[in-house]
Amino acid sequence: MNALEKLNRILTGVLAIFAGVSVIALMLLAAGNVIMRLFGFPYSGTYEMVGFLGAIVAAFALGYTQVKKEHVMVDLFSRKYPPLLKRFVDAASYLLVMAFSSLAAYAIFESGRVLKRKEEVSETLKIIYYPFVYAVALGFAVMAISLLIDFLGTIFWGEGEDSS
């Protein structure tokens, strides 16, 4: 288990570093555009780039957010479940979200592949942007792996008790 947990933390942590760099880049890019505009040289690609960076921020933080159990849950009643039932429902819920995240990763990857195949480019910068779409798919894939580890933990070790 420890090895799995460690793998989970490394995997989500690496993506989180990229997300962190992206959020700072986003800040510098958008703030930089304000300054450039004051001097009369706004940069036309900012809006698109900011959107793409925002996607990286949110998607690469998915797994990390799951590890930290940040996604908010309506546990008004389920909080009071007896331990065994709670463990069972927890496991089922992890499995459900894992299935969904895997599907989401696949669906986003597929829509990226359509963009690639049809040679679609972005509106202003006219650059291929499917790699950003693939990156969002990767974020969901890592989220799925993280949930699988949570699921295994709940089944075999009774862990995954969230602290929220």
Partner: protein
């Protein structure tokens, strides 16, 4: 089963799953929406929609305002600036019961003047206000309720995303709408502050009274908040004088905040790292909530439940005020079960024609439904602002935020009644000042 019946079933399943399972709210909305689309259409189309919608939500420029304002809030928080702000607020207003919560609502109202979205307001104000209120031993229900309700001012005080969408869809002047919502927004702010005082009369232990302070103590507390006032002034000037979008204002003020914190040596690497980490987690959570609500909204649109109910109400041969009340009930229920803005988009084409035919003022109607839809952001079970407040503060449960928010519902209802009774003073007077 297809059509509106499937939509109704979807809502029931969503509610059951949300309460019975232990799946995050964002994901359960997305999952039920996805399965619903599979039933209403096909597996293939559900997958296509899932892929394209998630990408569109995650990469939308409009949403990037969220991580930027959260980053600003986190810098302020980790550098201890918000602590100082709240110490000052405590010295000034702490001797009243709930005084710090009252100043939180005021801060929400002030922040709403620069931010047009209630989710972004909720995220920022939670980061800034909750940790500080906790220090003064405020009750979780009061803290959660005050911030969640206060954040709904995000769209009631201009600028406002809901009013912009309404204006674009109906061709109404956005400046008129912004002026028109000013008085109702301020009335709502005052009523929320009164609500806090009322709550504290009933539960005195929820908002403990601080020590009485002297005027000289109060004056001396002011220089403490100089940094944050500079920051606030900078954002306001940038936004009001123009030349920046909301995202840019947020990014520039985060940058300014960072510089300020670095100059004052308030933000060592460790704290900087913590601020970025918090920003990532919170932004991700908020993005997922928006994405989940979007996917569930697609499912609702596909079943035609919202549009058919709207058409049904439109077709009833009833006095116009009854139709109006039914419409508002529709918006209130719609706001409970799906993202308010998504519901607005679906229902507006049908309702707006009706409202015009009945002879109501379109600007006034815009303000009324903005009030109702923003209330939807704190009415359980699908209450986006409550989700954010609870999600961001580990020791406030979603139940406590729901409970706290419910106390604020009368404030909305009184504002609504005032809007009905004296529309001329509430909305039209200021709206008609615009050319």
């Amino acid at each position: 089963m297809t059509g509106p019946a499937l939509g109704l079933l979807g809502i029931i399943v969503l509610l059951l799953a949300m309460f019975a399972l232990r799946v995050p709210a964002s994901f359960i909305m997305a999952i039920v929406g996805f399965i619903g689309i599979v039933f209403a259409s096909s597996w293939k189309s559900a997958m296509t929609l899932l892929g394209t919608d998630l990408w569109a939500t995650f990469s939308g420029y409009g949403f990037t305002v969220i991580p930027m304002f959260i980053l600003l809030g986190e810098f302020i928080f980790h550098a201890g600036l918000s602590d100082r702000l709240y110490r000052a607020a405590h010295i000034w207003f702490g001797h009243w019961r709930g005084g710090v919560a009252v100043s939180t609502v005021m801060a929400c109202s002030g922040f709403s003047a620069i931010c047009g979205s209630n989710t972004a307001t909720a995220a920022t104000m939670t980061a800034v206000a909750i940790p500080s209120m906790k220090k003064y031993k405020y009750h979780p229900c009061l803290m959660g309720g005050a911030v969640a309700a206060g954040s709904t001012l995000g769209v009631m005080i201009p600028p406002s995303i809901v009013l912009v969408v309404y204006g674009l869809y109906t061709g109404q002047s956005i400046s008129k709408l912004f002026f028109g919502t000013l008085i109702p927004g301020l009335v709502l702010t005052v009523l929320m502050m009164l609500t806090i005082l009322a709550i504290c009369t009933r539960h005195p232990e929820w908002g403990p009274k601080g020590e009485q302070t002297t005027w000289s103590q109060k004056i001396r507390a002011l220089p403490e908040v100089l940094d944050i006032l500079i920051l606030f002034a900078a954002i306001m000037i940038a936004l009001l004088s123009g030349v920046v979008t909301a995202t840019e204002a947020a990014a520039a003020s985060s940058f300014l905040g960072l510089i300020l914190c670095l100059i004052r040596r308030k933000l060592p690497w460790k704290k900087f790292k913590a601020a970025v980490e918090d920003t990532l987690r919170i932004s991700c959570m908020v993005f997922m909530i928006v994405a989940g609500a979007t996917i569930f909204g697609r499912f609702m649109a596909l079943t035609r439940l919202p549009s058919e109910s709207a058409q049904w109400i439109g077709g009833l041969a009833l006095p116009s005020w009854v139709v109006l009340v039914l419409m508002l009930v529709c918006y209130a229920i719609g706001g409970c079960i799906m993202d308010a803005l998504a519901f607005l988009l679906i229902s507006l084409p049908i309702f707006f024609e009706l409202v015009k035919q009945m002879g109501y003022d379109p600007v006034w109607f815009g303000v009324v439904i903005t009030l109702i839809t923003t209330m939807g952001a704190i009415t359980p079970p699908v209450a986006i602002c409550c989700f954010i407040v609870s999600g961001m503060s580990k020791d406030i449960s979603i139940g406590q935020v729901y409970k706290g928010s419910m106390y604020f519902l009368p404030a909305y209802i009184i504002t609504l009644i005032l809007l009905m009774l004296i529309p001329a003073y509430m909305v039209l007077m200021l709206a008609n000042l615009v050319r």
